[in-house]
């Protein structure tokens, strides 16, 4: 693909600042996730985490199309969504380490980060667990006439859960402003999606009357263009939509999934990393189009690195919640 094919109508409406912001966010997410891996490897993080590395363009391209008071729901692989919606890395790391300064006071951990301030209804450790929630938030948006839109992120594994079809039906019947974003990274944990997914994915949404499309999830510009269009339509009252983003996770299913060759080859991984990296792609394009230069982007890279390092330090130094916290907030 050449640069010119990217120069769609939508592209033209995006300011340089926006592209730069998307670049910065993608880099931040990547640095963030590298640190998560590092924390795990150095046995500084309790439990596990599911890295978003490789999929950054999806969260960033989509959240860039949202207002800050729009809602998202997220998954077990949720750090990228949280950051893209505006969460700050320090409190996220604090959450991952179970510290009181974390977004959930350490009670949620990696798979449950939630933040009303950025419209994040929460990550969810149940595959498809947030679909009802997202659809319900869209119900509120419509009934309360807030003009908000909701994005429901989920992996292609969630296509196996019946509740998706139940809520797509509801959303379409009631014309709710929710976009179901399927992050198809080819694997349900350790099983290729072709072994678990019959028929045609987009048809599963159009059958319920949703408009559905598929996009190269490694290209933030295509993702953003599609998202902006669908979000806008939904905001105008056109009802729900379905967007499949074709993407890839570079790392294991979780940080402990090191030996992966029984389910996918190193070559396959290498191909995605070297040929379709979303950060590299945007970088190349920005430079090629003279929208910025390498030095500026390098500066962003190193700023991001510093920011993330500081955030980790903050979290490592932060205190655990006091024992008395344990039975607080069971009931509101």
């Amino acid at each position: 693909m050449t640069a010119t094919t990217y120069r769609t109508g939508a592209d033209a409406r995006i300011s340089v600042e926006q592209w730069i912001r998307m670049y910065r966010r993608m880099v931040s997410i990547r640095r963030f996730e590298e640190q998560v891996n590092e924390l795990y490897t150095r046995a500084l993080m309790p439990g596990l985490a599911h890295l978003y590395i490789g999929e950054e363009a999806v969260a960033v391209g989509i959240c860039e199309a949202l207002r800050s008071d729009d809602y998202i729901t997220s998954t077990h692989r949720g750090h990228g969504h949280c950051l893209a919606k505006g969460a700050s890395p320090d409190r996220m790391f604090a959450e991952l380490l179970g510290k009181e300064a974390g977004y959930c006071r350490g009670k949620g951990g990696s798979m449950h980060i939630a933040d009303p301030a950025t419209g994040n209804l929460g990550a969810n450790a149940i595959v498809a667990g947030s679909m009802g929630i997202a659809t319900g938030a869209a119900f509120s948006a419509k009934r309360l006439r807030t003009n908000r839109v909701v994005v429901c992120f989920f992996g292609e594994g969630a296509l196996g859960q019946g509740v998706l079809y139940e809520v797509m039906n509801l959303a379409q019947l009631w014309k709710l402003p929710v976009i179901y974003v399927c992050e198809n990274n080819l694997y349900n944990e350790y099983t290729h999606y072709s072994e678990t997914t019959a028929g045609d994915i987009l048809a599963r949404a159009t059958a319920f009357g949703l408009s559905a499309e598929s996009v190269d999830g490694q290209d933030v510009r295509l993702v953003h263009e599609a998202a902006a269009r669908l979000v806008e339509a939904s905001r105008q009252g056109k009802g729900p939509a379905f967007l499949m983003c074709k993407t890839y996770r570079y790392h294991g299913h979780h940080v402990g999934d090191i030996n992966r060759e029984y389910y996918r080859s190193k070559q396959e991984e290498q191909g995605w990393k070297t040929e379709r990296d979303p950060i590299q792609r945007l970088r190349d394009w920005l430079i090629k189009e003279n929208l910025t230069d390498a030095a500026s982007l390098d500066r962003i890279d190193s700023e991001a690195k510093t920011e993330i390092e500081k955030a980790v330090e903050f979290a490592l130094a932060a205190p655990y919640p006091k024992p008395g916290e344990v039975d607080q907030d069971v009931y509101a």
Partner: protein, 330 residues
């Protein structure tokens, strides 16, 4: 309660609670199968769609998981949904939404998000509806931190407790015994609510404590009348909510009477009677003159055949005999 109050049926009391809360707070919505024009198969909701419109009384597809999940998200974002699950047996389909989502959102988010929703559903057998339409599964939700579980036994309680549940900031499950919908009882015209977690002494007595839930309160009261004729004074206590549970009232009563029976229409094993019996056995340990007796549904899927079905649920007579036997103990 003032004297000479109006009488309503249990169904009317539920409906009135909903109507009043919907008038008071326009964020309250009802979601469920056949809740609008049909007003549910039990006609509990008749008239509500006419007053509040289809935007607030919504017929859903037959998607218990889907619309319960939708209610969780709606509750988090400013709506106060009341979800109607037609038969308590269908809560099986909503367990993930209620237990992994609704019950945990507040805690997992460090107290940031709240889920002020109510699930209304049924319990109770003897309607000749067989094994998939007769269960009393409230013990499951009672087991789960984050949920509140409410079991009204009279029209008065139904109205007052439901209003409180709708105003509560937490997910509440409200179980109505489908065989009680036509039960009449006094319900004052004036506004009132009933706190969750406060047991009610439905009848005071000296010789034995009968703790009963939902329609079993009526059974217990019937047994208490029979017992009175045998010279036994029974105290009937209705916990009203299994969670929060008003342990103190139960224990104090058992301490006073020194004997206790627990009657609940769910299965005995690993059910509500187990918890309450364990609480009383421990709390009134030094005062009890006899083991706490548990009475509930027979441990079988509910059979259709009427003579068999009738054997599976507690009756006045069973409670009466059990109480007499207990009172024969030193």
């Amino acid at each position: 309660m003032p004297e000479a109050v109006r009488e309503l049926t249990f169904a009317q009391a539920v409906r009135e609670a909903l109507a009043e809360e919907m008038r008071r707070d326009e964020r309250v919505c009802i979601l469920g199968e056949d809740v609008a024009e049909a007003g549910t198969p039990f006609k509990v909701l008749s008239g509500l769609v006419e007053e509040f419109g289809k935007e607030r009384v919504l017929d859903t597809p037959i998607s218990e998981a889907g619309f319960t999940g939708l209610a969780v998200g709606a509750a988090m974002t400013g709506i106060r949904p009341v979800v109607d699950i037609m038969f308590g047996d269908f809560i099986t389909l909503t367990m993930d939404q209620m237990v992994n989502q609704a019950a945990k959102v507040h805690y997992m988010s460090g107290g940031k998000w709240k889920v002020p929703m109510v699930m209304r559903t049924t319990l109770g057998a003897t309607r000749r509806s067989a094994a998939q339409h007769s269960q009393s599964l409230h013990a499951w939700f009672s087991h789960v931190p984050g949920l509140k579980v409410i079991l009204p036994s009279t029209p008065y309680d139904a109205k007052g407790l439901l209003k409180t549940a709708i105003r509560d900031e937490n997910p509440c499950v409200f179980f109505e015994d489908k065989m009680m919908y036509k039960l009449r009882g006094p319900v004052p015209e004036e506004e009132y609510t009933i706190p969750l977690g406060k047991a009610d002494v439905k009848r005071a007595g000296r010789d034995i404590t009968i703790v009963a839930t939902s329609s079993m309160v009526q059974v217990a009261l019937g047994a208490a009348t029979l017992l009175e004729e045998s010279g036994i004074s029974a105290e009937v206590i209705d916990p009203r909510t299994t969670w929060p549970l008003d342990e103190k009232t139960l224990i104090e009563s058992a301490k006073k009477t020194s004997r206790a029976i627990v009657v609940d229409e769910g299965y005995v094993r690993y059910g509500v009677t187990a918890e309450i019996a364990a609480v009383i056995s421990a709390g009134a340990f030094y005062n009890l003159d006899a083991p706490v007796k548990r009475i509930g549904a027979m441990h079988v899927p509910i059979p259709f055949s009427p003579p068999l079905e009738d054997l599976t649920v507690p009756t006045e007579n069973v409670v009466f005999e059990a109480a007499r036997e207990l009172c024969a103990h030193a």
